[in-house]
Symmetry: D2
């Protein structure tokens, strides 16, 4: 690949990040990619962790940096990765999240229906592949796991991929939740390939144990932090309400871009207008959402204005962790209190009291094993880490139930 001269970016986590090739530099400069500067990595988490304003742009660049390290490590262990595969890997990881919409996961299914951000990422990649004259073909192949060397795909997407190494570290760094720090250098140093799989050298066993615990703690303390859940579900409800109003002749402010998605309901699966629709999508970012919410504070629909104000002024719904079996009864009680307090349609009550369920899988060997490579009598031997570490099968999934309701209600 054709190297760039001296293009470097500062990163508080890794120090300096070099842009490795001309093509990659051009992709980064493209407006599709620049848009990621306006997509926050962690949605509304900054309402709890005031430092968490980092963006998808920064994460993508960081993951690419780790990929460079990973390639260097594997080559040192005599795994052949040629220069084309190298550039393809770097492009694939750079673009793996380009299909994220405003506020990342928070609004993933509120704005665009029936399509995951990964699929939109592929559509962007294909579009960029046209623009850059098929130079992204191999990257797409690897990203879609259609390339013979499966471990290249696993560097992008698996239990130990560079994606999560970067985001765990980055989210931990910016939120200040020190428990989430992951020794990414050490894990990448332990990368190896055996029988076509991405595996870890035996010396990495305890590092991976710590990695799984850090990940769990990030889920518990950040990604599923109850105040964040409350804020993000309210955000979803605001979009839902706005969509409803827009489609029912209620006058409502919207940026032009947002209108495309809330009112015209663009179908991103539709192959016909794909280029045009991708452009609409790429015009959409956090600013469209927040400015609309700011305006909606003054909309004459009570629900919409109330919820919008709650986000802007950070007077969020209360949220409590509860047993699943208590949910029904509690919802009933709160509903009663709400009805006493507000004149409100039954169908609108769901905006003011609702339940949330979260799930986190710690490590499920049957589905997504992590392999460790050990020399035994001078012969390599592969085994799932569950054979070396202490996992309690019954508790490999954490499920939590919450009830979430308007702050005016005492309970």
């Amino acid at each position: 690949m054709k190297k760039t001269k001296n293009k470097i970016l500062n990163d508080p986590i890794y120090g300096f990040i070099a842009i490795p090739s001309e093509l990659i530099y051009k992709i980064i400069e493209h407006p599709y990619f620049q848009r990621l500067r306006r997509i926050s990595q962690l949605g509304l988490s900054y309402l709890v962790y005031p430092g968490a304003h980092h963006t998808r742009f920064h994460h993508a660049i960081g993951a690419m940096h780790l990929m460079q390290k990973a390639i260097r490590v594997l080559r040192n262990k005599n795994i052949k990765i040629n220069s084309k595969e190298e550039e393809a890997l770097l492009i694939a990881i750079l673009l793996h999240d380009i299909g994220h919409g405003p506020f990342s996961h928070a609004l993933e299914h509120s704005l665009v229906n029936n399509i995951s951000h990964e699929k939109i990422s592929i559509q962007f990649m294909k579009e960029l592949n046209k623009i850059f004259k098929n130079k992204l073909s191999l990257a797409i192949k690897i990203f879609q796991n259609n390339y013979k060397k499966k471990y290249l795909h696993e560097l992008i997407s698996s239990q130990i991929d560079v994606d999560r190494l970067d985001y765990l570290n980055r989210d931990s760094f910016y939120s200040g939740v020190a428990e989430g720090i992951v020794n990414s250098t050490r894990i990448i140093d332990m990368y190896n390939v055996y029988q076509g799989k991405l595996v870890l050298d035996y010396k990495g066993l305890y590092t991976i144990e710590k990695f799984l615990l850090s990940r769990k703690l990030m889920y518990l303390q950040v990604y599923m932090h109850k105040t964040v859940l409350s804020a993000e579900h309210t955000l979803m409800n605001i979009l839902k309400r706005a969509k409803y109003l827009a489609n029912n002749n209620h006058e409502i402010f919207m940026t032009k871009n947002l209108q495309k998605f809330l009112k015209e309901e663009i179908d991103m699966n539709n192959q016909k207008n794909l280029t045009k629709n991708l452009n609409y999508f790429s015009n959409l970012d956090d600013y469209d959402i927040m400015i609309s919410i700011k305006e909606w504070q003054n909309n004459n629909d009570l629900i919409l204005s109330m919820l919008s104000k709650q986000i802007i002024e950070r007077k969020l719904h209360k949220i409590k962790e509860v047993d699943k079996k208590e949910l029904k009864q509690m919802t009933k009680e709160i509903t009663k209190k709400l009805k006493k307090k507000y004149t409100i349609n039954n169908s609108d009550l769901e905006y003011l009291v609702f339940s949330i369920q979260t799930k986190h899988k710690i490590y499920v060997p049957e589905k997504n094993p992590i392999y460790i490579l050990k020399e035994k009598n001078n012969k390599p031997e592969l085994s799932g880490i569950e054979k070396k570490l202490n996992f309690n099968k019954k508790q490999n999934t954490i499920i939590k139930n919450f009830i979430c309701y308007h702050p005016s209600i005492k309970n």
Copy 2:
């Protein structure tokens, strides 16, 4: 002051920050203060330093945290600070930047004329003082330097105040410019009071030398980074153009809040409608600006759309450091090239080629001395640090001149 129970915030820099009192907690919860979550600390610097998305909110909280430390240190040195003064200090530092508008310094004189952000901060404080029944009176007195103990004001505003200790560290942390790190703990540990002044113990001499160098490097590498200068001056020009168009019957998108300032030209010095105007101001944040710029990309005014696109797609004006005397000739040459390329009014050329001058004062003992306290023969003795450290008088100010012009022009 009445303590809060267990209100803490995560900060990646200091670990945990405790909210020290009920009143302070309420001020933080007020929408005026929550707005600071939507005001970026470093304007458009993130176009160069992708991590620099931190906010005024976070800086204000961080500075308050350092103030708590400072008070503890001074009390340990037998400087009496009573509990009322303590709370006042904490409030004053918390609110010292509340008057900042969108993108902080970048737009300080573009949106609101003839008034500094400090003055608007005072207006907000006075408004909050009404709301919180005069509990902020002492804070305002200290902030305005009307209180007898001058060193309390100096903790908020002086060469060694906690404000700059926080922002240098914070800006360095989030931008990843390691050169800017300041040993704030050490400097605060060296705080002392002598003859009514805030001074430093002698042991802090070399720390302060390093502090001044760090500050200089932050100016050179971040605050006056030439790409940042180019972006922010373009931002100012966009606002200037929009104002011009709005007042000349040109149709132009604007959020309602922005309209107040661009079209109706609210005068924040005017005492008559102050409360109302403060509310308008407090509704304005980065989102109003960015969404407008996004929309303006499609405005039919060529200048406005061109500059707006340049910000969104990060195709910024070129910028070069030049000798002052070269400026005139270079401007002339570039103007010529621009005229060849674009059909453009003479009066509009200033949007496409202009000069920038920056100034940084390293340390000016005549105006803002830093005092160091030494025991000599068991007697305290005060002297300006310039007597102990090596300063080159002639070079205590760094002035730079730049020429900035449309990227289509080769030079």
Copy 3:
């Protein structure tokens, strides 16, 4: 307690450590305590982790610093700790390890028989109590758990005491084993007292989970690192051999201090000559051991010279983790090879091949519970962390068996 003026020490981990009182300053200055500067914290671990040269002195000072924090936190939660108790706590933690001999744990039972380092610590404390006119009485009472407020003792010695918070962090910092870092600030922030016990606030639950994992990883990677085990067991064997030779008319170099213990076998339990014996003990440090080993390289006893050379030149015994049941057979095989290679008495073979067993208890709720405090329906409720976290009872103890033998043997 009478405060000191400006006595501070630099610590790479905590920044600055203040010496809190005149009495404590004098204790630190006493030769008994200064000796700890010559006692390495981690024995021979530096043969594996070249940075691990930190001392008992530094650990003691660091633990005292954490104790200051702990006291501040508890007082903020309205736990009354008066100024006498404060100083006693600080002294007790400062002196908790003063009874450690050369190379800390490595030689704990090789030099002085039938007595633990804690007991020798108490003897030192009592001796210092005489010197400082009974000002240490309360410290001794707390240290021996004879004081009414049991939680004060638990700050010094329990599953969550400041001792291990400091040593885990310090050992991790100096060895560079990042996995061992412990969020000591966070854990101390979670300290509370309930029903007379030192407990943790509920918010500290996951921090404590990570703490237990970090501790386990430090045991596996540092304290029980197999090369360290090999080196330290060889060190013990050297001392054993030297003792044997010294008591069997073999000429052997020894520093005068070491002679007291190797040849005269001072009994530290003996109350009669305690002051004298303490002085002998306090003259002994790492230097006596290492210089003797250096000299012993040239002793004409083959075993002694061979083992000594192995330490100095770092040609350590091989060591392998094995199943317990394999131990016997392997020892037999290696013995056979050794006999073929060296003319050596049967009774001396144990120096060249031996087994090691290590044990680490992760968390044993029946014996040493860690309590967590939760508010339920506005009432505090205490429970062992095993009710909230996922512990596999069967695997709460890690036992490992090793075989260790002369490096000339191939196996």
Copy 4:
């Protein structure tokens, strides 16, 4: 060069350090090199900075690690360094300090006369070259600056060599003096070669300014810390006294190794017995010195026992910075007081009162320029940094005078 498999060392500063080749691994394993584990990097500085127990061993390994980085950076800038030169560079930097004796600089001229540690390093290298069959010839050539590519030597020894990048960082890290931290990654990233010289890219200008300040602060706060000066000069005096006594029929304890140097006065310049003498030298380390001092506490020479006790119990000579012109008068006064207090020979007074002068050159462009490389009109242009940065010529050397005297004297 033949690569090693998986030999890595933990380093708290750089993470992991790989041992790059078989030959280098064998050199590290050699007893000559292992000895460096027993040579402290900073002499007696740990009496002031309790964390500063790191060794020459660790520094040598760390500098080798930075050299690996430097080679990678230069190769990326198309500077050709072949694989033989690479290994030679790594060996040369690894061994650059192998000639250091006990306590590094502190005793450099007390034990061995008329020869610098660099010269002894060369003798060790030559000896190792014999052992490793001339594989070190190129390393020696580069170290002695006899190789055509001068910039290779400059990587080992110049104003910006990797040696000082490592020791400044390492000494700063272990002492906890944060002011001394140097951005070594950034400086190495700026390495370049122009006109056969090791230079810095222009972007490194401010980093080098900070580097020079950090270095100055390390001199002022650590290397020339007055308490360290007092301790180390007393150490020198102890050795001087011991030498005097040993050569004047006074009975005095000495380890065999030390005896060679104190009594027999081995001449390391003498080429005749070089191998034998190198072996004597290589048997000498910190332990020989400290154990002797411990024993000398009880020697019947008053001066020797008094000074030795002062080191062991840390009751150091007082030390004050004074004007040069005051020195004579102060010495006179203190001498008078000493004579009143102690019955002591005139010739022995110099042990109890003496002066110290220290010198630090900040940056002397005439002698040791640092060059910066800038593109001007697309042509490279070299200039000394003094043309870009603000240096005050008159103050480029810091000279300090101290008077140092027995702590019993009040002054």
